[in-house]
């Protein structure tokens, strides 16, 4: 009987807390509404402020982008901003995939997305892109972020890229290409290992082989060709992008 009484007590406690949470949730919603009425524009217009906002949320353990049905999304409109950006990122990556094998620098992605958004759209920062991409991963599409040099390569295909591949991408970042000799001298790898990794990149279409280079063959990464940055997305490519 005593045990039953304790159990019952336990149920009541949880019910109490849930009721308390419900009340606090309502109060929080009101606070957020007030905040939104004063500062919603700040979030929309100011990429710096968005960073502050996101960082603070992360610190306390809240993900404002988890659901479009969350308070943050509904009242501050942060959700729509990032989810739409996600769509634009997917489209640019699909359109350019045949050129670069599914690897693109954050800079190029940024430029292409800005172009697509047009003159009157809100400003979008590279930090915004990274956050949108992190959310896209859950769709099982192979989206990934690879640090190279001082920036990032964005992967948008489900190709397996392990640490060996990543290290070679980082090595190639300076000149846009890499050779087996460079890999041997910088990374101290055996020729066999270097070739295996480079072949994988070739197969995935992320690297192109230039056998006519003076000296030894050069492995170029189209994602890193700066000359391609300003090239527009052609109508054929755009068709690829939209389902």
């Amino acid at each position: 009987l005593l045990q039953a009484k304790y159990k019952e007590r336990g149920t009541v406690l949880a019910e109490d807390q849930l009721a308390q949470m419900s009340k606090q949730l309502d109060m929080f919603k009101t606070n957020l509404e007030e905040f939104a009425s004063k500062h919603k524009q700040e979030i929309r217009k100011n990429p710096e402020f968005r960073v502050q906002f996101q960082d603070m949320c992360a610190t306390i353990g809240v993900d404002p982008l988890a659901s479009g049905k969350g308070f943050w999304s509904e009242m501050l409109g942060v959700g729509d901003f990032y989810y739409e950006l996600g769509v634009q990122i997917i489209e640019v990556c699909l359109a350019l995939k045949h050129r670069n094998g599914g690897l693109i620098t954050l800079e190029e992605l940024h430029q292409q997305v800005l172009k697509g958004r047009g003159k009157f759209a809100q400003d979008v920062s590279q930090d915004d892109l990274l956050r949108a991409i992190k959310k896209l991963k859950v769709l099982g599409n192979g989206f990934g972020i690879i640090p190279v040099g001082g920036t990032y390569l964005i992967q948008s295909v489900p190709a397996e890229l392990n640490m060996d591949h990543t290290v070679i991408l980082q090595l190639a970042e300076k000149k846009g290409y890499v050779t087996v000799s460079e890999i041997r001298s910088s990374l101290k790898w055996e020729t066999e290992r270097a070739k295996q990794v480079l072949e994988h990149l070739l197969k995935e279409g992320m690297a192109w082989l230039d056998t006519q280079a003076a000296g030894e063959p050069q492995y170029w990464l189209p994602a890193l060709f700066t000359e391609l940055y300003s090239q527009e997305i052609t109508p054929e490519e755009a068709k690829e992008a939209i389902p």
């Binding site: 149920t11 809240v62 996600g86 769509v87 959310k135």
Partner: protein, 386 residues
């Protein structure tokens, strides 16, 4: 900690205050030291720590001693920290609180938060290395820099005044928006704490809690964007919202799926649905969680996850294994095909074309030829001709 030297804490000429933070504790490597509650100041030249209770106790380290810095996230009962890796102390260093240390790094523990801003500023200062351009000296001299010309050296008072000016400027710059945001976050933090407490109760009770209460709790977590502390999923599936969404999706996707041979990747679905909505878009997680419920709700679509991790939505009537048989015919007709070629022939996306060919291979109908030219599939003659 042996790199620190005692200091008056006053800024030198040419040294500017960048940011300061209360409530910082110092660690010598992994070990706590007696400097447990102080104000941490970052200047263009140094990192200074002053005891909050005893202002005389003040130590500093030149930024040039810093090799690199790392962030250490907060944990349960632990504050967020910045780990500062240091060069060995120079032989002509001024006396400090420690003669020696077995560690080559220190940690700054932010008990009252502020680590995000501090880390950012510290990174900047280390990158910009402004101390190299503005050498400071012990002697007070007139500052020749035209921009700072108005701030003349008039002894200790002048330096104090400069500090005060900087402080006021910083205070003004903190916009109202940021202040309001901080207050809001404090309240949000309370919600997180409360949800953890409830989650603990749920864990303890295990079965005494009703399904209704669980669903309610999950929907509260969803509103706040708090990860479910029990299952670790972000609010997990099973809320009414996702059930509704799943039913809606079944309606919206029927025709597009039929137009695309009964199968679409989840990425395509995400774009299609959100483009159609225009407003009140779905988050990627919303979509995934709704799709996970399709089968249990007995809707005419289902979620399928391939070995590669690629996620698709299929019509229930769609049978990928049957499609494999027709894929085999197509490949046989042409002798061999790559995913690109197959995709163009059949009118599918390359992603799904590849998955179909991989499935065919898994089922033994196709063989691969993996070369630098690309991945090419051939009918598996070992099977058919034996």
């Amino acid at each position: 900690m042996d790199r620190f030297a005692w200091t008056s804490g006053l800024l030198e000429l040419g040294e500017t205050l960048v940011v300061q933070q209360r409530g910082v504790r110092l660690y010598d490597g992994e070990e706590k030291v007696k400097f447990d509650s102080g104000v941490l100041l970052l200047s263009t030249h140094r990192l200074i720590w002053r005891d909050q209770k005893n202002h005389e106790c003040c130590i500093a380290i030149p930024l040039s001693q810093v090799v690199f810095i790392e962030e250490q996230a907060a944990g349960i009962g632990k504050s967020a920290k910045i780990v500062v890796h240091l060069h060995p102390a120079s032989s002509n260093k001024e006396p400090g609180p420690f003669q020696s240390s077995k560690y080559s790094y220190i940690k700054l523990s932010f008990k009252e938060h502020g680590q995000i801003e501090f880390y950012r500023r510290l990174s900047e200062e280390i990158t910009q290395r402004r101390w190299e351009n503005m050498p400071t000296g012990q002697t007070i001299q007139v500052n020749k820099d035209s921009q700072a010309g108005r701030i003349r050296a008039v002894g200790i008072v002048g330096i104090e005044r400069k500090l005060e000016e900087k402080r006021k400027e910083t205070a003004k710059n903190i916009s109202e928006a940021f202040e309001d945001l901080s207050k809001l976050m404090e309240k949000a933090k309370e919600m997180v704490e409360l949800s953890k407490s409830i989650a603990n109760k749920i864990k303890e009770k295990q079965g005494d809690i009703t399904e209704d209460e669980t669903i309610r709790f999950k929907s509260y977590l969803l509103s706040m964007g708090i990860a479910n502390p029990v299952t670790r999923e972000t609010y997990g599936s099973g809320t009414h919202y996702h059930m509704q969404l799943a039913k809606q999706l079944a309606g919206i996707l029927q025709t597009p799926l039929e137009e695309r041979g009964g199968i679409m990747s989840l990425t395509e679905v995400y774009c299609l649905v959100n483009r159609a909505r225009g407003l009140e878009l779905l988050s990627p997680e919303d979509l995934v969680n709704a799709c996970k419920m399709l089968e249990s709700l007995k809707l005419p679509l289902r979620l399928r996850i391939f070995d590669s991790g690629v996620m698709v939505i299929e019509l229930q009537s769609h049978n990928e294994e049957e499609m494999v048989a027709s894929a085999l015919e197509t490949v046989s007709e042409k002798g061999s095909l790559t995913a690109d070629e197959f995709a163009k022939l059949v009118g599918m996306s390359v992603l799904l074309a590849k998955e179909r060919l991989l499935l065919a291979e898994k089922m033994g109908h196709l063989c691969r030829d993996d070369s630098v030219e690309g991945l090419r599939f051939y009918p598996n003659l070992f099977l058919t001709q034996s």
